[in-house]
């Protein structure tokens, strides 16, 4: 961490107390909502959930560097915290988990596949890397319209860097010097596949030079360092400096999803060892140590997050499912019959 506790100084990278507290709240909320999803799955209330435990700091930091109302986010399914951080509400998250009619996509997609034009959150599928060409296209649109001060933040996992579409996206962004930031959330696993089977050398950021763009690696367990790294890249993109490849180191503490049992391919010991780095208690401690928050305030924040999660759960659960007739809407604009008569 970039915190020098003995000297009592905290490298804030310009973040004020409110912003630091907002990042912690985002992290706590992420974890609470994640746990809620798993809980509801165990209770048989939802068929599927997927958590981002271990990614909280990375996502809270990155979201803080996102310019709401200007930037565009092209996330992937593990980005609950990023989506919360740029303005999605817990209620919207729970609508997605419950697949209710008033969910952004009308209960059509898997949980965590949000889209919200109002906050600049692009629609995406579960197909890995398929969203990256879209993100680059969005960046091209920004460049084409000469909208300085705007950029696209795209994210993906370490495993996704192996896809052809990842490469094609990076290359195009570099050729056209697009306002595009590729943020890789390297949690060392792709379901059961460790990074060493994904690539021959372990540093994703080193691919940047081959495309002719700046690359950088940062500690994704530290939200402040993450914020600084993402902000630097986003600022460069917003001001015409072109794309970047940045890699945040984190870890996936839970199984891939509720359909996965990670004990089939990694040991409890490995996970427990990495738990020592858990970014949530670590950041709580940093804020307390540096007097940004008192322990009581942290406690109250946790309670408030729990309350908000409970309220969102109850409100969303009470919402109706989409109607069977909704299956047929929004395939095309207007009528959708393949036979015309």
């Amino acid at each position: 961490m970039s915190t020098d506790t003995k000297a009592g100084t905290l490298e804030r990278h310009g973040l004020n107390d409110d912003q630091l507290r907002a990042m912690l709240r985002n992290m706590l909320l992420q974890r609470q909502l994640d746990n809620r999803g798993f809980q509801l799955n165990r209770q048989g209330k939802v068929p599927f959930a997927l958590g981002s435990e271990g990614h909280e700091a990375l996502q809270a930091g990155a979201a803080m560097a996102f310019d709401r109302g200007k930037d565009i986010l092209a996330p992937y399914y593990r980005d609950l915290g990023l989506c919360l951080g740029i303005g999605l509400t817990p209620y919207e998250i729970m609508l997605s988990i419950f697949a209710r009619e008033s969910d952004h996509n009308g209960g059509r997609q898997f949980p965590n596949h949000y889209s919200s034009k109002a906050i600049g959150l692009m629609s995406f599928s579960s197909v890995l890397a398929a969203h990256l060409p879209h993100a680059v296209g969005a960046a091209y649109a920004i460049a084409y319209r000469e909208q300085a001060g705007r950029a696209v933040l795209a994210t993906c996992g370490d495993g996704t860097t192996s896809e052809g579409e990842w490469h094609e996206s990076m290359n195009f962004a570099a050729i056209h010097k697009l306002p595009f930031v590729m943020l890789v959330e390297n949690n060392e696993w792709a379901i059961s596949t460790p990074l060493s089977r994904q690539m021959a050398q372990p540093e994703i950021w080193k691919r940047a030079a081959g495309y002719g763009m700046p690359g950088r690696r940062f500690n994704g367990f530290d939200p402040i360092e993450t914020y600084a790294a993402v902000k630097e890249a986003m600022d460069r993109a917003r001001s015409g400096g072109g794309p970047s490849l940045i890699e945040g180191i984190c870890y996936r503490y839970l199984a891939h999803s509720t359909d996965d049992n990670d004990l089939t391919y990694r040991t409890r010991e490995e996970v427990l060892e990495r738990r020592k780095q858990d970014p949530v208690p670590a950041f709580e401690a940093v804020l307390v140590e540096h007097g940004v928050m008192t322990p009581q305030e942290v406690d109250a924040m946790r309670k408030d997050v729990l309350r908000e999660t409970n309220e969102a759960t109850d409100a969303a659960e009470a919402q109706p499912y989409p109607k069977p007739a909704d299956l047929y809407t929004n395939l095309y604009e207007g009528a959708w019959q393949p036979w015309q008569s």
Binding site: A200, A208, G210
Partner: protein, 352 residues
Amino acid sequence: MRVVGLVAVQHRDPSASSFGRHGLSDQQLLAIFRTMLMHRTLENRGFQLNRQGKIPFASAGEGHEAVQAGAAMAFARGKDILVPYYRDLGLDLGIGLTPYEVLLSLFARAADHSAGRQFPHHYASRRLGVQTISSVIAAQLPHAVGAAYALHYRGERGRAVLTTFGDGATSEGEWHESVNFAAVHRLPIIFLCENNEWAISTPLAKQMGQPDVYKRAEGYGLPGVVVDGMDAIACYAAVKEALERARSGGGPTLVEAKCYRFLAHTTDDDDRTYRSREEVEARRKDDPVPRFERLLLDESILTEEGMEALKRSIREEVDEATDRAEVMAYAPAEDLYRDVYADGWQPWRGEE
């Protein structure tokens, strides 16, 4: 050769042309030159036949003669596997394809390797160790990796795969996936990029954000090498070193040969629409064929008379191959239906 981390850089330094043979005998040097000349002569013949209306299509690798003849010399016939791309006539010739086979392909005759099904220069030959390719850019690269995996899996030391592609192909997803997989498994394979700075009308600057393909190597964790693609001996040396590393279990290498495409993309292309004559003329100064010719003469490996005789023999061989191939038959129409599957090709099964 300059070594930068994993990356060995071979400069196009005129003073370096103080003649290093890299162990090549006079015989081998002559063989390289013969391949280069044959390559150029056959391709001119293709363009000629096209202008005469005798064949619908031809393409050419003028400017690629040195890299292809050099790489072919490093290839171990009967052992290595070649997975080329459509511009690799010189490579195919260098590893044993005959001018007659080339003309059969240009004329699309029944006796052609694909029986006239494929475009010219898409050879497949078990005898030569050349895998079948399509015209789809970069689609051959996963196949090359699969072949290398087969060698690796069966523990066949002493064998390797040489696969080639253009600068444009490096933009394809399959290029990325192939290089990455080969690196993860340390497979016996050489990725040889024939960087001629153009992909039809698309210049390198629109193909990638920085101009050096070999610089991608580090990101995948394999050695990257750049070589003057107009220098056949340098290309031989670079490919040979990489092949030897691969054959002995040292894993894959990305080799970039900087060359140039002197002609239009194919007979269907007019390159004046997208690049200047001045550019092409300026690059003609690097023409690898006269450059190598000069070297052989200067080093007294060949006399002026010997050179003339060589050129004459090549012309005669090409003429003879042309005449022989032209009179061969087309495949019969029923041939359209063969070899879709091993057995009959009917999608509907039943007793008729």
